[in-house]
């Protein structure tokens, strides 16, 4: 592994580049099933025809589980946004167009979005009381059942502008089939954690491009906030909680 070049280090993984491959090496805190699931997700979306890296292998490397994919030659969209703040509007438009296009794909074997969110809400026993979880589950249960491919963590750092001029989405660990509006709600929330103005711009563009009323996206915010909360990122906790404690209309 001498040729491996470390790209980024996260809580439970280190990402390396090795030639034309990208390799994520996970530590013990990552369940093995999650790693295989991510590989499976990636295989499914690649087969569906979505622009994304291709899975190469999953195996043990020096005692740690690792997952290799092809490498997309290009630049991450968040880097481009940082480098060219004057082109923010253009980049956001590319980002939204790509997201709406992804929603038009179908991958019938991907896990169901509502199942995933239900699981995440149920796991929040230490943070949310039973009443709030009940409200969230009720709200989620009443949401329509849809089958659009949703990335689940669609933010500019996961979008690569390839050297070939095409856009590619990577990191499909949270991919589901479900409501594009929920996926947009998650993107909006991720923007909001970073920059309110950008978040509003994003929502405007998304709703216009996909012809979705903003209320539909907003209806999902308490649910995606709960799902984000289940990732235990402590610094956002108060903010996320303030989005969760809402009452259904009577």
């Amino acid at each position: 592994m001498a040729s491996m070049q470390e790209i980024v280090k996260r809580q439970n993984k280190i990402v390396y580049r090795e030639g034309d491959e990208m390799i994520k090496v996970f530590n013990e805190s990552k369940p093995v099933s999650d790693i295989f699931n991510e590989a499976l997700n990636l295989a499914r979306v690649a087969e569906a025809g979505i622009n994304s890296p291709k899975p190469v292998w999953v195996k043990r490397v020096d005692g740690d589980w690792a997952f290799a994919t092809t490498r997309i030659a290009g630049k991450a969209l968040d880097d481009l946004m940082a480098e060219h703040p004057e082109k923010l509007d253009k980049y956001l438009k590319l980002f939204v167009d790509f997201q709406v296009r992804i929603h038009s794909y179908r991958a019938p074997l991907l896990q169901r979005q509502k199942d995933k969110y239900t699981r995440m809400i149920k796991s929040l026993t230490d943070i949310l009381d039973a009443t709030t979880r009940y409200e969230l589950e009720m709200r989620l249960d009443g949401m329509p059942n849809e089958v659009e491919v949703c990335h689940g963590d669609f933010n500019p750092s996961n979008v690569i502008v390839g050297d070939d001029g095409e856009l590619y989405a990577c990191d499909w660990a949270h991919a589901t089939q479900g409501s594009g509006a929920a996926d947009a709600a998650m993107s909006y929330l991720l923007f909001e954690l970073e920059d309110h103005t950008k978040a509003e711009k994003y929502l405007d563009l998304y709703c216009k491009k996909s012809d979705t009323p903003k209320q539909i996206v907003r209806n999902w915010l308490s649910i995606v906030a709960a799902s984000e909360l289940s990732r235990h990122r402590e610094d956002n906790r108060e903010f996320l909680l303030s989005w969760i404690d809402i009452a259904d209309y009577q």
Binding site: A130, T131, T132, Y134, E135, E137, M138, R139, L140, D141, G142, P213, K214, Q215, R218, N219, L221, S222, S242, W243, D245, I246, A247, D248, Y249, Q250
Partner: protein, 879 residues
């Protein structure tokens, strides 16, 4: 007794899907016993349960506020009081068991049955009162109810249900009819909705959608976003104080509470001043934004502010307001969902809008309803005399409740400010809100009904012209009446060229002159009269403006005159409408205008056949399109018929034969019609008897046997009376088409198929029989045999009499020179076959077909035509 059995094993705490399933099985058993209870038993239980709930209203209200941390104890007391007393009062006399509606004259009963197990979903906002309400209406309807409370209000909801349950059981209800989930989960709520028979869901959209997607019928209700308009004509003091009274009620948690006020320009300041004077706080500058962000989060209500006081909410938002502030009011402009104030706020927070006029206010209200409260409630303050404003408001608002000058929270639930509106804690929002009802939900929504319908017979009738004058030489005497009794001044005569030119109308005209009645005459009616001819006549008719019309002639002149009479009286009447076929003349879509307003109508027949002088029928052909309009309605019946054989003496032989056989067909068809009655039968029988006795001589001897002629005139008129009431049948349907397609005289066309149709009708196993309540089973053959015997035909058996009757008819037909096959009438085989399918379909669709005792298949009509064409031996025509 199942009660004691279930007591032993009853699952007391429902806290898992498993225990829920066991409990519901127990409930089902208890409910089956309850379903056998009498109205008296049920009413006693209903009474005791309502009393018990009422007695517990204060402790239950306290519990609700304590547990949920929302609302106002004193207001919840009112809601509990209302849910017990008003619901009891409304339904105490309502029948919900056994026969609840009965109409013996119509043989009609409605029997009520319970639905089974009601799934009652109870919200946090009105937990105890909604529980009382749903338990009481379930008891009144002999249903069991399983309650799923909101987790935030689980204890007080259970306590309310328990009070009702204990009282019901003490009053004799089976044990365990009312149950509740102790700790609700989504799984249990879904399970409960799947297992129940009907879902009564009060709650937010999530809950309502879940109810509808459970696959069980649901009475779900949706959110409200009640807009109020204060019109310039309103009493501002009443309006503002009503709104405050309603909006502060239980801290604004009732779904029918006002969410926004739109005041028109000329009262805006006055409204604002009154709100301020009565303790409401208008948010200023930054305060507005702070309250916005506190009350609504991402388009949804912040759970922490629901049912809190204005001061508490202001404090949370960091806005300083007097402690006793009643409502926080935000003056805002946008009605779109991006404006937080435009949402339902479930708290004493109100949006206020300015509108330059009523139209702008309506636009705003419409949008607010569409975005958040479709189908729920809207409210208007206006001077009660301004019906125009109220009408406009009600036509535009898509809400199940439209309240005028009424506090909407209290007004929407019914019976407090309007006493016709049903009291309810569950308000339907119609399909606008995705609900199955737009009413205030009550006991009728929890009942299955069974309609018990006895076979009834149709009302029948017997209708004839008011005057039928007959006897040789009666015409001048009868005409006297027009002048001497009725004082008619202007008479219009309709006739044909032949009669006019040959002086047949002269005696009429002379008589009219003698009576001093001025007259005019239209004498251009041709056989098979056309619409164009009638229109020509009407021109003269309108110019002349008669007060009496005399139609003199055969069927054609009388039919044309009837049409001209309609056109004269009602120039705007449309023939397409009048000619529309009907199944039952009394249920027809088109209602004929009332005839006789302008002119009295007299018919004087000059041939003995059509009976048109006493029938309500007329046929006219549009020469431009070739379409025949058969008109039938008792309004077309002449007022006076004058049957004077002197006018018929010189009928040619052919006409005597054809019209005489037509009379026989009229009489036979009327006698076997599914609508034949004791009143029409005598005329039919006598008519056919007269035909058999007199037609041969009338045909052979003409004017030389005036007696036979006169009896034939009577026969024609009698048959007309019979078929005016009993109608005709397939024989006429088929003959009409033979006439239309192959120009065969009507009477001949009838005669050539007559005995074949009789054999066809008399089948004891017809493929289909006619539909009329009185016509219970196929019996045409028995009827033909009765008629035969009346006409003197004998035989050893019914079958023999029937065969002899057919032979007698064919003998008469032959005597009159009419052949027994269509081919012999000179119709070419190629022409016949080329038109056959069209004739069949049109004959099937002929108005006469509906009264035939045998409902024909088109294939059968085709066989009949072919048999009659070639003279094939008759088959049995049994199915």
């Amino acid at each position: 007794m199942p009660q004691s059995k279930s007591k032993e094993k009853m699952t007391e705490v429902i806290d898992s899907v498993e225990s829920l399933k066991v409990a519901m099985a127990e409930m089902r058993e208890a409910q089956q016993v309850f379903a056998t209870f009498s109205q008296e038993q049920v009413d006693k239980i209903f009474y005791e349960a309502a009393m018990a709930a009422n007695k517990a209203r204060i402790p239950l209200a306290k519990m609700a506020v304590e547990e949920t941390g929302m609302g106002v104890v004193e207001d919840k007391v009112i809601k509990n009081h209302y849910a017990s007393e008003y619901i009891y009062n409304k339904y105490k006399r309502t029948k919900t068991c056994g026969v609840i509606e009965e109409d013996p004259a119509y043989g009609y009963q409605v029997v009520a049955e319970p639905m089974g197990i009601v799934a009652g979903i109870i919200p946090t906002t009105n937990p105890t009162s909604t529980a009382i309400f749903k338990c009481l209406i379930s008891l009144k309807t002999r249903n069991a109810i399983i309650i799923s409370p909101h987790p935030r209000a689980a204890k007080c909801t259970a306590a309310a249900a328990q009070r009702v349950r204990e009282a019901a059981e003490a009053a004799g209800a089976p044990k365990g009819l009312i149950r509740w989930i102790s700790v609700p989960t989504l799984e249990m709520t879904n399970e409960l909705m799947r297992d129940a028979d009907i879902i009564l869901a009060t709650g937010g959209p999530g809950m309502v959608k879940a109810a509808y997607s459970s696959g069980k019928p649901a009475l779900g209700v949706g959110p409200g976003n009640v807009p109020v308009i204060i019109h310039s004509s309103a009493n501002v003091k009443v309006a503002v104080n009503s709104i405050i009274h309603s909006k502060t009620f239980d801290n604004g948690m009732i779904c029918a509470s006002e969410q926004s006020v739109t005041a028109l320009d000329d009262v805006y300041d006055e409204v604002k001043a009154e709100f301020a004077r009565r303790g409401c706080y208008f948010l200023k500058g930054e305060e507005l934004d702070r309250v916005r962000k506190t009350v609504i989060i991402n388009g949804s209500v912040n759970a922490k502010i629901v049912g809190q006081s204005a001061a508490t909410i202001a404090e949370m938002a960091g806005v300083e307001v007097p402690k006793k502030t009643k409502i926080l009011i935000g003056e805002v402009e946008s009605v779109s969902p991006s404006e937080e104030f435009a949402h339902e706020k479930l708290s004493p927070v109100l949006a206020m809008y300015h509108a330059k006029d009523f139209d702008e206010a309506l636009e705003k209200a419409k949008r607010l309803v569409a975005d958040g409260g479709f189908g729920h409630t809207s409210s208007l303050y206006v001077h009660p005399t301004r019906q125009d404003v109220i009408d406009k408001f009600k036509s535009v608002m898509m809400t199940g409740r439209i309240l005028v000058n009424t506090p909407s929270a209290q007004g929407g639930i019914g019976d407090l400010y309007n006493f016709k509106m049903a009291p309810s804690m569950t308000l339907g929002c119609g399909t606008w809100g995705g609900n199955s009802t737009s009413e205030n939900v009550g006991v009728k929504h929890l009942l299955n009904t069974k309609v018990v319908a006895m076979r009834q017979e149709n009302m029948l009738w017997f209708r004839t012209p008011e005057k039928i004058y007959f006897k040789r030489g009666c015409m001048p005497v009868a005409l006297n009446e027009l002048g001497q009794v009725m004082d008619k001044k202007r008479c219009f005569i309709v006739t044909d060229q032949f009669l006019y030119k040959n002086g047949y109308t002269k005696p009429v005209e002379d008589k009219l002159d003698e009576l001093g009645i001025v007259h005019s005459c239209f004498w251009d009616v041709a056989p098979d009269p056309t619409l164009q001819c009638a229109q020509e006549g009407v021109k003269q008719l309108r110019a002349f403006e008669p007060d009496v019309i005399i139609a003199m002639g055969g069927g054609s002149a009388m039919d044309a005159a009837k049409i001209m009479w309609v056109m004269y009286e009602y120039p705007e009447a449309r023939f397409e409408d009048m000619a529309m076929d009907f199944m039952d003349i009394r249920k027809r879509i088109y209602i004929y205008p009332d005839m006789g307003k302008k002119a009295y109508f007299v018919c004087i027949p000059t041939s003995s056949g059509t009976g048109s002088e006493v029938t309500p029928f007329a046929i006219i052909t549009d020469a431009e399109t070739g379409v025949k309009w058969p008109l039938a309605d008792y309004e077309l019946m002449p007022n006076m018929a004058i049957v004077d054989v002197d006018n018929m003496m010189s009928q040619p032989k052919g006409l005597t034969a054809a019209s005489g056989l037509d009379v026989l067909t009229h009489a036979l068809e009327a006698y076997v019609s599914i609508m034949a009655t004791d009143f029409s039968d005598p005329s039919a029988l006598q008519a056919m008897k007269l035909v058999f006795e007199n037609l041969p001589s009338a045909y052979d001897n003409g004017a030389a046997d005036p007696e036979a002629r006169e009896r034939m005139a009577n026969a024609s008129c009698l048959a007309g009376i019979a078929f005016s009431n009993a109608f005709l049948g397939v024989n006429h349907s088929m003959a009409h088409k033979l006439g239309a397609f192959h120009h065969i005289p009507h009477g001949v066309a009838n005669a050539v198929i007559l005995t074949r149709v009789m054999r066809y009708n008399s089948a004891s196993v017809p493929a289909k029989m006619g539909t009329f309540s009185q016509y219970a089973y196929p019996h045409a053959k028995e009827r033909y045999v009765e008629a035969a015997r009346f006409c003197g035909v004998t035989g050893a058996s019914d079958d023999e009499v029937f065969e002899n009757f057919l032979a007698k008819i064919n003998e008469l037909v032959t005597h009159c020179g009419v052949p027994l096959t269509i081919a012999e009438l000179g119709v070419k085989e190629d022409d016949f076959l080329a038109t056959l399918d069209e004739m069949v379909e049109q004959a099937f669709n002929d108005q006469c077909t509906t009264a035939n005792p045998r409902y024909p298949l088109m294939s059968e009509l085709k066989e009949l035509y072919l048999d009659a064409f070639y003279g094939r031996p008759a088959t049995s025509y049994e199915a």
